[in-house]
Symmetry: C2
Subunit: 155 residues, 2 copies
């Protein structure tokens, strides 16, 4: 795991979440995952190409997704994960990854990102192939976490 490949994700996520939601999550212990994602939560999927080829999976509980969507919409109550709240969460992921790509670019590393896809379901299992997965946990007040899983190979 190269620190210079992980730090931009951390820096961008803290910055974007703070700006868009006014929430101040803290970074938990970053670790290498051997297992794939398993869960019933909300998953946002974004692909990476360029110097770093892989995928980013942001996963969080439905409850935290609703709280974040509400905060992004100026505190408007959000009680259901409908098209509008999914769109808000997707836009958050898009902004985090766009900001991450800008930081990489400043560091001389060119990456491109795909548009986000929002995934919900039960017993979701995601198996990335041909890559190592680094998990960056963002811990929110109240004990909930948003995990950013970065699966990549270096080109």
């Amino acid at each position: 795991m190269k620190v210079e490949y992980i730090n931009p994700f951390i820096e961008a996520s803290l910055e974007v979440i703070s700006q868009t939601t006014n929430m101040k999550p803290t970074i938990g212990k970053v670790f290498v995952k051997n297992n794939s994602y398993n869960g019933d939560g909300v998953v946002i999927f974004i692909g990476l190409t360029g110097k770093i080829n892989g995928n980013v999976v942001l996963s969080l509980s439905k409850n935290l997704a609703l709280n974040i969507a509400s905060a992004m919409m100026g505190g408007m109550p959000v009680i259901e994960l409908d098209e509008i709240s999914k769109s808000a969460i997707a836009e958050l992921a898009n902004m985090i990854l766009g900001n991450t790509a800008s930081i990489f670019y400043k560091n001389g590393i060119g990456i491109d990102i795909t548009p986000p896809t929002v995934l919900t379901g039960e017993n979701i299992n995601l198996t990335p192939t041909k890559s190592v997965t680094v998990c960056i946990p963002l811990n929110f007040q109240g004990g909930e976490s948003l995990e950013i899983d970065v699966s990549y190979q270096e080109n």
Copy 2:
């Protein structure tokens, strides 16, 4: 929907599936999807960047996935969607998209692809954002289909 953006996916998928499995699916009616993917099947997810920015979702039943994995492994019986059979299906998707990217390249359209991710679960709902989705159904003998959903925006 631009035909020149869809034909490479059709050409590549027929070619790769025929070569790797000896199966001869036929192309069904290509259509624009307004709804997102909903199902309990096996989904392989690959991102696209470059001239075409988006995501490709290959979806098929578990049964068809097992049959394809078996055919890819020389007819060895495959009764469970384990790491090996998931890896075979992911490799099929990777080859189809790699071949698709080569055809685009020959046509002067540069695209990059991400590594595949295999997704399983129940009541899976995939909502692509900011894009149109074109569905290419590949119909296999026995009545089962593999659907290739291409969600993209043009850059």
